[in-house]
């Protein structure tokens, strides 16, 4: 049967067809939908882990227990999971283990655009890179076979375009006859003490050599001979761009980007007059081809930053006369300078009032990653740093170590519930252990909102939507030794302001937890709309105070020149009433 699937849906399907027993992940764009889709297949234990390191460790356990395991994450998640990954490379697997890294060239929704092909080489594990949804499914199946055949974890690298792009996939039946999982002890292979690890390392080097040899004749490394004057080595989505704009050139399409098939590459190089590499981000293939002593052109004509596109590939090859310029190279038609449309916190978002208050209090905010990172945008403009998940806490402690006692009072770390449990909790241990004067605000909206509402250990539900224990964040902070843990209603601006400023002034570790849910949570009894608000036209003096919270439900209706009045869109208003508290003229009231 044929279906149109996204790359993520196809990977879920491929894992099901491969007989996967366990799937573990921490959400992260563009990888999240793999686990969200895998729950539809029978016989798979699928779950969210608190972070990527734990997700990989769950996968490793399942593999050692003899089951096939899928672990998925976004590219930066691999940084978190890198510790187990590098030693898993030494132990190898029992049941096949596939680690999906979903990279994000162009940073459509990420804080950096690291090229995780480097991880494959660094950790010495093979990496497959699909170019469309069909390959996402096929390569996932193949990855499990290779994992067991070569006794290695296998990485599968997607990029935003292959993860979220959709194309036609032919479905197949799941494999049968896989061995039943059971406990098997094998200390020499699974206990990586120096003595055992020293024995494993030469095996790893030999494994890489054998994998390269496999790559020389593997069907996923495809030599397509067309015009012999130009040859392009490429892989993943860039292959599609090459075929799109250079339909006649010869290509060597690599399905396995690590280790590289050296013999096949030499064979290809010998058959074409000029050799090129078309790859996104780092010159990963190019440098290795150059190290083989071959003459090749890559990043001389293609960018190191951002994703490629048909236009970029066309421009690069037009620049050296290999393809004709077309109208695509003419200046594009942009009629006028349009106002931008950046993403915004939703109407009724519980984060809004907190950032409004932090701005008022002139706090120095060490921020973190989540919907609340939008607190950086005007008019809230209340975030001073953002590095990676969990960093807000340790950084608040660090900044406080160097500034004056007076400035220490300004330092506030801000973190979401999911992010706190991901890697923020270790930072809080630092704050308590070393008695930091900084303040931490945990924005507990009961969900991992940024990535599309996934449950987490503090939401009370699992990926399968089963009720489970809900971690009590206040109790957890107290147990760590924070003496001042306060819970606030972030819709109450007066309370929010007085509690935050009290805790900022306290020269000891303190934690403030907000307790209003995300407006997008659909589960019954979590988020409920309040009574809607409206602007009384007669009372509104047009002072614009209510516009300072940047709520999408409040619009400015200009009358003449600079004057105007506010208006609340009843379809968008969620009734949080934060705007009501900003109006000194009592012009905003509840709809009766």
């Amino acid at each position: 049967m044929k279906e149109i699937l996204s790359g993520n849906e196809a990977i879920a399907r491929g894992a099901f067809e491969a007989g996967v027993k366990v799937a573990s992940a921490y959400p992260g764009t563009p990888s999240t939908e793999i686990l969200e889709n895998i729950v539809a297949y029978p016989g798979i234990d699928a779950s969210w882990a608190p972070n990527e390191k734990v997700a990989l460790e769950v996968g490793i356990g399942a593999s050692f227990g003899g089951g096939r395991a899928l672990v998925t994450m976004k590219h930066v998640g691999v940084n978190v999971a890198a510790d187990p990954l590098f030693t898993l490379s030494y132990t190898g697997v029992n049941g096949g283990l596939v680690l999906v890294t979903a990279d994000d060239p162009e940073m459509h929704s990420s804080q950096n655009e690291q090229d995780n092909r480097n991880y494959a080489k660094f950790a010495k594990v093979p990496m497959l890179e699909p170019a469309d949804s069909r390959e996402c499914k096929e390569f996932t199946r193949l990855a499990f076979e290779l994992s067991e055949r070569f006794d290695t974890p296998v990485m599968l690298r997607t990029t935003t375009r292959s993860s979220h792009g959709k194309s036609i996939v032919e479905l197949s039946e799941p494999v049968t006859g896989l061995p039943e999982p059971k406990l098997v002890r094998n200390a020499a292979k699974l206990v990586m003490l120096p003595g055992n690890a020293r024995v494993r390392h030469p095996f790893i080097e030999e494994r890489t050599r054998r994998l390269a040899e496999y790559g020389d004749s593997a069907v996923i490394n495809r030599l397509e001979l067309r015009d012999p004057t130009v040859g392009v080595i490429t892989s993943g989505v860039p292959y599609q761009y090459v075929r799109e704009v250079l339909p006649n050139v010869s290509t060597l399409k690599l399905g396995m980007v690590h280790p590289l098939p050296a013999t096949l590459i030499r064979e290809f190089a010998a058959k074409v007059e000029r050799l090129f590499v078309v790859e996104e981000l780092d010159p990963f293939i190019e440098e290795q081809v150059k190290a083989m002593g071959l003459t090749v052109v890559g990043k001389e004509i293609l960018p190191l930053c951002g994703e490629l596109s048909p236009a970029i590939v066309r421009r690069a090859f037009a620049g050296i006369g290999i393809v004709g310029a077309t109208h695509a190279l003419l200046p594009p038609f942009i009629p006028i300078d349009l106002p931008g449309r950046p993403p915004n916190m939703c109407p009724g978002c519980p984060h809004r009032g907190v950032f409004f208050t932090l701005n008022q209090l002139k706090a120095y905010v060490t921020g973190d990653i989540g919907c609340y990172t939008l607190g950086f945008m005007p008019p809230l403009s209340a975030m001073d740093t953002c590095i990676c998940m969990g960093a807000s806490v340790g950084m608040a402690a660090g900044v406080a170590k160097v500034v004056s006692a007076e400035e220490q009072q300004k330092i506030v770390g801000v973190i979401g519930d999911s992010t706190f449990l991901h890697t923020g909790i270790n930072g809080l241990m630092e704050m308590v252990y070393n008695q930091s004067p900084a303040t931490l605000i945990i924005l507990d909206n009961r969900i991992t909102a940024m990535t599309g509402r996934q449950d987490n250990p503090a939401s009370g539900f699992t990926l399968m939507d089963a009720p489970t224990h809900r971690i009590d964040l206040a109790l957890l902070c107290s147990a760590l030794g924070v003496k001042h843990v306060r819970t606030i209603d972030p819709f109450d601006l007066a309370e929010t302001k007085s509690v935050i400023s009290e805790e900022m002034n306290r020269p000891e570790p303190s934690v403030i937890i907000t307790d209003k849910p995300c407006v997008l949570v659909k589960r019954e009894g979590v988020f409920e709309k309040g009574v809607l608000l409206e602007v009384c036209e007669e009372s509104c003096v047009g002072c614009r105070a209510c516009l300072k919270i940047g709520c999408p439900a409040i619009e400015w209706l200009p009358t003449d020149g600079k004057k105007g009045k506010s208006h609340i869109d009843p379809l968008l208003c969620s009734g949080c009433a934060v705007c009501h508290q900003l109006c000194k003229f009592d012009a905003i009231g509840r709809v009766i």
Partner: protein, 192 residues
Amino acid sequence: MNSTVTNILLVGVGGQGILLASEILAETVMLAGYDVKKSEIHGMSQRGGSVVSHVRYGREVFSPTVPEGEGDILFGFELMESCRYLQLMKPGGKVIANDLKIQPPAVLSGQMAYPDNLPELIRSRFPDFLLVDGQQLATQAGNPRAANTVLLGAVSRLLDIPEEFWFKALERMVPAKALEVNRKAFLMGREL
């Protein structure tokens, strides 16, 4: 350039149902026997940001995104967003847009004005630009929320795909209880 491929852009604001519309379109052309690829960015765009979905179909499709300057049809759910992506269109391409304005943050807060001459601007470059009052037609069909389907109907006239495949795709992608309204809305757009 691969001239046997048709390039369609669906553009608008996060939350307008663009992904579903592009899914129906992709399903239709697959049912009609074509190869099809679709690409868009999820993530930040969900929070009221600008959204563009690329749908390409033909005998064999390579790039999942429409090459700059090769868009055949732009199908806009909101006026300003319709303008934003015109640069992807080829000269002489067809533009159909919903007559709807959704104010971006800078306009909401009174710092900028929503440009008022957008239909004329689009028409100056794309003379057979079609402006559709999707909401009103959908209300006539029985539900203002079926505006996207009206637009889909208007776009369907530009594509050489038999009607049966559109209906089959609607049947597969739209919940049963909304099917009748959506059929009606589709036909209203198709007859414009």
